[in-house]
């Protein structure tokens, strides 16, 4: 598939569209000593669906993400992905088809953009040490495929021809996009985005929105943590609001938007001033 095809159809290369339950987290609880960061949270995500995760600072959104992606082992509860319980190892989680980006961008700064995406292909390729030294036809084919796929993905996120730049020298918006491309390179079925528009200007936010829609349309399930409410309500099919580690509300964007408790959690209620320090 050529780059132009990708751009025309908007399809993520090599991905099939279909609707089924991808992720189901049940009663996930994460305790750090006496602090309960995530308290009994449930989440179900279907393919082709965008789920938003909102909540004031310190609500446990990123901790919940880390529980899902195997960075933390939840104190209790279980995370099933495509029907199977995930081992709490980031690598296994990625292999199973779940990829993430980070709140504070964590690219490999001294590698080029292309190399960054190629690292994402690591778990889908198999050349080991001896193969790499001997360089048989299989190795060369795999290496060429990796490169081609990385170039395609860069084009897919709108960074065509920028593969040669070092990640650290890229503008902020491109760094965010590159992180998404790197995550997509692992062939995920579910993409977890941790504040993908943090620090972006309105135009960049709109571009990110389009990109996320494009990824959703190719059949991937997406979970997004965001603070930008306009962004989240434009984007998400369902929204989950976490406050102090607990699920406050779960529903459609419109339902959550109009729920007084959500507004209270963010801004605080006029009578009690409760939660004002969280906002």
């Amino acid at each position: 598939m050529s780059i132009d095809d990708v751009l025309l159809t908007g399809d993520l290369p090599g991905h099939q569209v279909g609707k089924q339950e991808m992720l189901s987290a049940r009663n996930v609880t994460m305790r750090f000593g006496g602090l309960v960061a995530v308290d009994d949270v449930d989440l179900t995500v279907h393919s082709g669906e965008i789920v938003g995760l909102i909540g004031p600072n310190g609500a446990g959104k990123t901790t919940f993400f880390n529980c899902l992606t195997g960075l933390y082992k939840p104190t209790s509860g279980e995370v099933r992905f495509a029907g199977e319980v995930l081992p709490p190892k980031p690598r296994k989680v990625v292999m199973a088809g779940m990829a993430r980006t980070f709140q504070n961008i964590r690219l490999f700064p001294n590698m080029t953009a292309l190399e960054n995406v190629m690292v994402g292909r690591y778990c889908r390729t198999s050349a080991m040490a001896v193969t790499s030294i001997v360089r048989g036809p299989k190795f060369r084919r795999e290496e060429a495929e990796t490169r081609e796929r990385a170039i395609e993905l860069l084009a897919y996120v709108g960074m065509k021809g920028q593969g040669g730049h070092l990640a650290r020298n890229l503008p902020y918006g491109d760094q965010r996009r590159l992180e998404i491309a790197r995550a997509l390179a692992t062939d995920p079925k579910l993409l977890l985005l941790d504040e993908p528009t943090a620090g972006m200007n309105p135009q960049e936010t709109r571009q990110a929105e389009e990109l996320i829609f494009k990824i959703r349309d190719s059949g991937l399930a997406i979970v997004v943590i965001e603070h930008d409410m306009r962004f989240i309500f434009n984007l998400c099919d369902r929204v989950l609001c976490l406050v102090r580690g607990k699920t406050l509300v779960e529903g459609t964007a419109a339902q959550v938007q109009s729920d007084p408790r959500v507004i209270e959690a963010y801004i605080g209620s006029p009578e009690t001033q409760d939660g004002a320090d969280n906002a």
Partner: protein, 579 residues
């Protein structure tokens, strides 16, 4: 690095013509002074006492003087030729070179060169009186050249590295540089006199500084990037030719073989440190494990293992034993990183040495005879080729060490192949990713633990191979050859030469091994001198002598020369604020 300003830009603007005349005259006079006697007696350095008959070192000095004069003169020749539209292709190339920068570097260089020569004469003959008048003329000329070159206004930023040259020019340039390197190395190694060796090192240093500052160095490195395969093959060809320059003398070949063993081990360490970013302070233990394995299975009367397989098999076993040790030490410790890993590996190196000293029959099984080790390891005999005998090839006798040199060259080729191929593969990308951000690499599905273990075991395997040969070269293996200091030197070679590159590490290893061998007086102070050298390198060129491109960027996030240029254009207050 930014060379401190002696004359302010204002002074430079006013006196730059004077400076150019001074630099030109100084350079020419310095070159001419090579024909004068520099020393009172022929015993200092190589004989410098003749009028009209320059010694080799004086010729080298003359060469530097001519470079200085040429660089200074280019400031006039270039506009002159430009106005008359003479030699347009040459002019185009010349306009990309930083002649003024080259002149400034050479200006300092000639002063350092003559300084070292005069100090060496004074020390070797006893007293300043032993410096003949020609030496003083040379010093005055060098001073004039130095002051003159400092007075020149800052020249343009060289852009030779962007010059597109025909492939044959590139290849001829590579061949010439390598041949010059071979000749210089062969000449330097044949010097018994320590002072002469230092002066040659100084010459090499000045020449390198000139090449780098004038932009020719940048062009050469661009050329070597374009023709990497040619470069690697010709470097090996040149190394292969080296024993033929020695006229059968084994003294230098012994050093060269030790250098190769050290360099091969350092390249192995470079996989661990330079690529995967794991600080290993006990790497010498893997070399030792290989050497002890080979020794116990050798034909030596003191060997403790009855089984005597052919050397190829022994070598593989030695590599595997080292790799197994690497796995054993690696699997529990690679979960820690950074400083902690350094401490664990340091301890491992000591444990290895002490364990070997105790395998003497009284504290443990008598495997290696404790601290006396295994002596009298015979020479190798591979496929009927006796490594102990002198073989005459094309009329040149090649002794025992030459034979081992060729074997080590072969092993070096294997190690370099493994290093570069792993570097440019999925595995290499994984290593770099781990070095850059371990958590992110893990979250992207990179098998962090497995790759770290692979780096550790792979590096150990290569060291084990080198160790097996080392056992036969040294003829005896004792635990006290594998002390912590050796690990530190290996690491120093990697850091000095340039992490993540083969060429740099080989250069670093060669320098660290050669200098103490050739300079007996350095041997006493070598810790002090190397410490100083490391400090200076960290200050001046933290990325190493021949750095990996990625490393350069790590240490120089912004283009320093560009910053310098901008600063020079700014009034002083602003420059201070901005820096």
């Amino acid at each position: 690095m930014r060379i401190p300003t002696i004359f302010t830009p204002a002074l430079q603007k006013r006196y730059h013509t004077v400076g150019r005349v001074l630099a030109l005259a100084g350079g020419l006079l310095f070159a001419a002074s090579a024909y004068l006697p520099w020393a009172y007696s022929g015993d200092a350095l190589d004989d410098m006492s003749y009028l009209g008959g320059p010694s080799t070192l004086q010729f080298l000095g003359m060469f530097l003087g001519l470079i200085l004069a040429f660089c200074a003169a280019m400031g006039w020749i270039e506009p002159w030729a430009d106005a008359r539209k003479l030699f347009p292709p040459l002019l185009r190339i010349s306009k990309r070179a930083g002649w003024t920068r080259g002149a400034k570097a050479t200006g300092i260089g000639v002063l350092v060169y003559i300084g070292i020569v005069l100090i060496a004469i004074t020390l070797e003959l006893g007293g300043l009186v032993t410096v003949e008048w020609g030496g003083w003329v040379a010093l005055v000329a060098a001073l004039a050249g130095f002051v003159g070159s400092r007075l020149l206004t800052a020249g343009r930023q060289p852009s030779l590295e962007r010059a597109r040259t025909a492939p044959w020019v590139d290849i001829v340039a590579i061949a010439l540089v390598l041949l010059a390197g071979l000749m210089l190395a062969a000449y330097a190694l044949n010097q018994v006199d320590g002072g002469t060796f230092v002066v040659i090192l100084a010459f090499a240093g000045v020449l390198t500084a000139f090449l780098l500052r004038s932009g020719i160095g940048g062009w050469l490195s661009a050329v070597s990037r374009r023709h990497r395969t040619v470069l690697v093959f010709s470097a090996f060809a040149v190394a292969f030719l080296f024993p033929f320059t020695q006229n059968g003398s084994d003294a230098n070949m012994s050093i060269a073989t030790q250098v190769l063993i050290f360099a091969a081990t350092a390249v192995g360490l470079n996989i661990v440190v330079g690529l995967a970013g794991l600080l290993d302070l006990g790497y010498i233990a893997f070399l030792g494990a290989g050497a002890f394995t080979a020794a116990t299975m050798s034909q030596s009367a003191f060997a403790t293992i009855g089984w005597k397989p052919p050397f190829i098999v022994v070598m593989l076993i030695a590599g595997l034993v080292s790799a197994t040790l690497g796995l054993i030490i690696g699997s529990p410790t690679l979960r820690v990183s950074g400083d902690y890993l350094a401490i664990v590996t340091l301890a491992f190196g000591e444990i290895f040495r002490i364990t070997m000293s105790n395998l003497d029959g009284s504290d443990g099984p008598d495997l290696v005879h404790g601290s006396s080790g295994i002596p009298a390891i015979p020479n190798l005999n591979l496929f009927g080729f006796d490594f102990g005998a002198v073989h005459v090839v094309a009329g040149i006798p090649l002794g025992r060490f030459s034979n081992y040199f060729f074997l080590m060259l072969l092993i070096m080729a294997v190690i370099v192949l493994v290093f570069t191929r792993l570097n440019h593969s999925r595995i290499g990308r994984g290593w770099v990713a781990i070095r850059e951000d371990e958590k992110a690499a893990e979250a992207m599905g990179v098998n962090v633990f497995g790759l770290k273990l692979l780096a550790f075991a792979g590096g150990a395997f290569l060291a084990g191979l080198a160790g097996a040969v080392k056992a036969h070269v040294d003829q005896s293996v004792t635990p006290d050859q594998y002390i912590f200091l050796e690990s530190a030197f290996l690491l120093a070679a990697v850091v000095l030469g340039g992490m993540g590159t083969v060429m740099g590490v080989v250069l670093g290893a060669a320098l660290l091994k050669l200098v103490p061998e050739k300079l007996r007086f350095v041997n006493e102070y070598r810790m002090l001198l190397f410490g100083l050298l490391m400090v200076i390198m960290m200050r001046v060129r933290p990325e190493g002598m021949i750095p990996n491109q990625r490393r350069v960027l790590e240490f120089h996030a912004d283009d320093e020369d560009l910053v310098d240029e901008i600063e020079e254009d700014l009034p002083y207050e602003f420059a201070e604020e901005g820096s």
